[in-house]
């Protein structure tokens, strides 16, 4: 599990462009490119370095109550992908590390 208290934020050198609600994330240094669907793009936007993972999940659960049970898994999967691709950094990276083994 990714720590609820973590505050993920975009990595330096990462650019994002929103196109019709979806997103393209580009890491200028590594040339890594990601395509985010609308849900993933929304999660990305909530990763501002101030909100915790728990707060992100709570916000999304309020906005989409019918999907509340699924949201935690979706957020975790998306954050893990973004972190593995170098698009997100975490306040304490070891919290992510401990979940990836």
């Amino acid at each position: 599990m990714i720590g609820d208290g973590n505050r993920p934020r975009p990595a330096p050198d990462v650019q994002i462009e929103i196109l019709d609600g979806e997103a393209v994330v580009f890491h200028v240094a590594t040339l890594q490119i990601l395509h985010l669907n609308r849900s993933a793009a929304l999660i990305w936007y909530l990763c501002d370095g101030r909100r915790t993972v728990a707060e992100i999940c709570a916000l999304l659960a309020d906005a989409y109550p019918s999907a509340a049970e699924q949201i935690r898994d979706d957020v975790e999967r998306t954050l893990r992908l973004l972190w593995e691709k170098g698009a997100l950094v975490a306040e304490s990276a070891e919290v992510f590390d401990s979940t990836l083994g």
Binding site: Q15, E17, L19, V24, V28, L31, H35, L36
Partner: protein, 296 residues
Amino acid sequence: MPSPRRFSIPPSADGATRLVVKFADTLASIDFDDRSLAQRASSILRHCVVPCTAPTNARAHFVFQVESADESTCALISGDTAAVRGLEESALIERLIYEISLALGTGGHSSLVFHAAGLSSADRGIVLCGKSGCGKSTLSTALILAGFDFLSDELVAIRADATRMDGFPRAIALKDLTPFGGDVRVDAPDAVNATATLNGMTYLDPCTLRPGSLRRQATPRALVFPLYSTVAPPEFRRLSPAETAFLLLPRLVNTRQQVDRGFRAVTGLARMVSGFRLVYRDLAQAIAWLAQIVGE
């Protein structure tokens, strides 16, 4: 944005045969000390060659020299430094085509240059983007035979405002002619001069496939990402702008010339020009789908 290195085109050496080739707003000159080598290169580059009647006034971004070292080997010299020596003739021509494509693709463009094929129906341009081996050349050949005009087999320059695309119309490089059976007319009257074979690769002049099929520019209408597959189900679907940008950015050749490695410009292009995913195994079906989008 870094300025491209520019070279004045010096007068050619006595007896040298010169070709000057153009792609969008970039030039390269090649001097050959052997006329037969120049003719072999010209058979592949003939539609990219521009007149060079006033060499002292002209400017080029890139200068190449081809020298015959002895009866069996040649040297390719690029700019001020010796690039490659000891090449057999066919290997040299192949290397020359590669080096010129690389130089013209990466140097000095105000446009976005993509590793892609370009075709058009009237002014409505289609860009076929994909890695080598995805079937761009095969599909291009089939589209020319079906009545589309040819802009390029390898490089397409697109203005960031999507108002124009330019091609680099060197001969089409085909690894395999079998998908066409007898449909590719390599026995056309001028095929001897228009077609070359290098290390198993056949270079076909588009005008041999269909006279008058060459076109220099068009307006980009569709960015198509083709994949020839006998396994995956055939598919032709419109992509979202984000999907288009995601697939298009890795095909950008002149990334170093662009701010943010071209990210903003490519996403901007993906907003303006529709993207399509094309998975095909039947060329006729693929042509029919592509004809739809230029006919819309």
